[in-house]
């Protein structure tokens, strides 16, 4: 046999892995597809870190007689890559369930493979309305705008706010923010006096704000990410528009406060995760996270942490009769799972029913509103 460099490497790898493989013969394998390189790599890296925290804790707890392994594959937020990975996971008979991907686009492309092969797929972040509807194999651990909108509508109603202006970015997501809020709000007897969509990255909101003030609403409901949010809030303050601003979890980012400063004070929003919450499991996660990071975990790693834990809990439930089918049923049966992003129950479509946290910016920090 000719000893090429490749065979040498293979041999070395085989020798190195043999003891592990022998030990892990009965280990449970899960796949995780996520972007580890490319321009969304920072999110994927956070997911992986959060997943590792959850996995280490789980394997140390001894809830199963065998360890669980997660195999990470880099999808680079590319739909083609996502499908290739999905095929790879499906072909590996030892893998019983899959987590990911990050974006709705990649998750939905890969979902077609999982649907055909019959493998449970739980995404921590794919929020496109159609994702969970693809088949009985898809689940997600992120709330949709229908849920956030309904909570915000009720929140405003409770405060006696009847006239609202809606400002959202001109994207599919922005449209779903507006729709998710306007329907329940009008059904509850509220009135939407002004709706405006803006192009993402708009520098100057002042014309919109002036027009909005002219309509004299009691509050503004907004669908933006933190950069546009910071611009909007700064210009609201600049024009002395003293109208309360409500927003979604997309605006929940410490950068928003850093960019907008005092102008962010009083912003009200719904979120699923607050690192400042004193619940034991939240603090446990935040403490572990802080050991390896110099910033507090945001909502996305928390979603991933919970997604992994939900999957692991389902593995425990299905064990020892663990197959792709039994795992799917165990995930679907998740009820009131106590995660760091609130309690999770899946409905018949694989949508998580979560309690959303209400938060507000007070003294330069996001704090929970009781």
């Amino acid at each position: 046999m000719k000893l090429t460099r490749r065979t040498a490497l293979l041999l070395a790898a085989a020798t190195a892995l043999t003891p592990v493989a022998a030990f892990a013969q009965d280990s449970v394998k899960l796949g995780y597809q996520l972007p580890l390189t490319g321009n969304t790599a920072q999110y994927g890296q956070d997911f992986k870190d959060a997943a590792e925290i959850a996995l280490t804790k789980f394997n140390a707890s001894g809830a199963l007689p065998v360890p669980v392994e997660i195999i990470y594959e880099d999808s680079r937020s590319d739909a083609k890559e996502g499908v290739t990975i999905a095929r790879k996971f499906v072909d590996d008979k030892e893998i019983v369930g899959v987590l990911g991907d990050f974006t709705s686009t990649v998750s939905m492309a890969a979902a077609q493979v999982y649907k055909k092969a019959g493998m449970v797929q739980l995404s921590q972040t794919a929020s496109h309305p159609d994702f969970a509807k693809i088949s009985k194999w898809q689940f997600r651990n992120i709330t949709t705008q229908d849920q956030e909108g309904a909570v915000n509508a009720q929140w405003m109603m409770d405060k006696g706010i009847k006239k609202v202006a809606v400002i959202a970015e001109q994207t599919d997501w922005g449209q779903s923010v507006a729709k998710g809020f306007v329907e329940p709000f009008e059904a509850a007897g509220g009135e939407v006096v002004y709706t405006e969509f803006f192009n993402r990255g708009l520098a100057d909101f002042r014309s919109i704000i002036t027009k909005l003030e002219d309509q004299a609403p009691d509050a503004v409901y907004t669908g933006f990410f933190y950069e546009d949010g910071a611009q909007f809030l700064k210009q609201m303050a600049q024009l002395d528009a003293a109208i309360p601003v409500y927003s979604t979890s997309a605006a929940y980012n410490d950068q928003l406060i850093e960019l907008a400063g005092d102008a962010a004070e009083g912003l009200l929003l719904t979120a699923t995760f607050l690192p400042t919450r004193m619940d034991a499991n939240v603090q446990e996660f935040v403490t572990e996270w802080d050991k390896t990071h110099d910033h507090a975990p945001g909502q996305f790693p928390a979603q991933a942490y919970d997604a992994v834990n939900i999957m692991l809990a389902a593995v425990v439930k299905a064990y020892p009769d663990l197959t792709r089918d039994s795992l799917r049923d165990a995930v679907a049966a998740t009820t009131d799972f106590p995660g760091v992003t609130g309690n999770t129950t899946f409905d018949e479509n694989g949508e998580p029913l979560k309690e959303l946290t209400k938060a507000s910016v007070v003294g330069g920090m996001f704090v929970e509103v009781e």
Binding site: N39, Q170, E196, F197, F198, N199, G201, L202, A203, D204, R206, S207, I208, T210, K211, D214, E227, A230, Q231, K234, Q238, L239, D240, Q255, E258, L259, G261, D262
Partner: protein, 304 residues
């Protein structure tokens, strides 16, 4: 017409217009001399903003010093840009090359290439997100005038635009450098035959125009508190439209057109969805090209 709503929208439009004008001045000056669009002007604007930002985070100097640092960074960027993207296409001094449109227009591509390289480099170094700006430096403190609200940045930008415009007119009309800039812009070959150092004149034009672009960048960056690598793109388009509307090589024409553009954009939000307000600029561009190919103010003027 004295509805406070309209007045406020007019005030916003005026301040938008001044912001576009600030950028259009340097842009038009460089076009006037070379007769080609400098696609990297937007990146010079961004470099000015980043230079100012780095100065702020490094040693927190007073605002005036920040502005001068941006000016210097812009001048340097302009010099480098001319050297790398424009000079190589003027290395042949025979008459055929000097008259060749192809040689001149090749700089469209080289300046575009420089702009892509500069932007991507900044994204690699700083990331594409908004940079954190020390909030104390922002020039957005509200000032109330009767029913309308403006900010101190509006006054600063108005002042800087007027100084730039006045200074440039003085420079062009009264100084020997201005004379040579005007000569080169009128007829580069003729100027060369008369003994004017065209290379030096072009470099000076780039330095002045780019310094002005960089100053615009830091001012607008502090005005909105938004400094990021692709910040020069949208203002670049608005400045380009203003330049075309003003007749391509007239600085005062570009300033007036920029103000018309700003006013139209802010008023348009009242009549149509805001997502369409970007269309206003393109509509103006199209209408100008169809009905006033020489610019809104006619062509019988001196260049620059």
């Amino acid at each position: 017409m004295l509805d406070p709503y309209i007045l406020q929208q007019l005030a916003i439009g005026l301040s938008l217009g001044m912001i576009y004008a600030l950028m259009a001045i340097g842009f038009t000056l460089i076009f006037g001399v070379l007769n080609v669009v400098n696609f990297a002007h937007g990146e010079v604007y961004t470099i000015g903003a980043f230079a100012g930002l780095m100065a702020i985070s490094a040693f927190g100097p007073p605002l005036l010093v920040v502005l001068f640092i941006a000016l210097a960074a812009g001048a340097l960027a302009g010099f480098g840009l001319e050297r790398l993207a424009f000079r190589p296409f003027r290395r042949f001094s025979d008459e055929a090359s000097l008259k060749s449109r192809a040689m001149r227009e090749a700089t469209l591509m080289s300046s575009l290439a420089m702009s892509i390289i500069a932007r991507e480099a900044m994204e690699m170094i700083f990331g594409s997100q908004f940079q954190t700006v020390d909030l104390a430096y922002l020039i957005n403190k509200p000032i109330h005038i009767g029913p309308i609200t403006i900010v101190n940045g509006d006054l600063i930008i108005l002042g800087v635009t007027l100084v730039m415009l006045g200074g440039l007119q003085w420079l062009l009309k009264k100084s020997p450098i201005g004379l040579s800039i005007r000569a080169v812009s009128n007829n580069a070959l003729g100027a060369k035959y008369c003994g004017i150092n065209t290379d030096r004149t072009i470099i000076i034009t780039f330095v002045i125009g780019s310094a002005m672009g960089a100053l615009a960048g830091i001012l607008v960056g502090l005005y909105y508190g938004a400094i990021f690598p692709s910040m020069g793109f949208t203002p670049g388009i608005k400045a380009f439209v203003a330049m075309v509307m003003g007749g391509l090589s007239s600085v005062p024409g570009a300033v007036i057109s920029a103000i018309i553009l700003g006013l139209s954009e802010s008023l348009s939000t009242s009549f149509m969805p805001s997502v369409w307000s970007d269309m206003v600029a393109y509509a103006f561009l199209l209408l100008t090209l169809i009905f006033f190919p020489q610019g809104l103010f006619g062509a019988r003027r001196e260049r620059v």
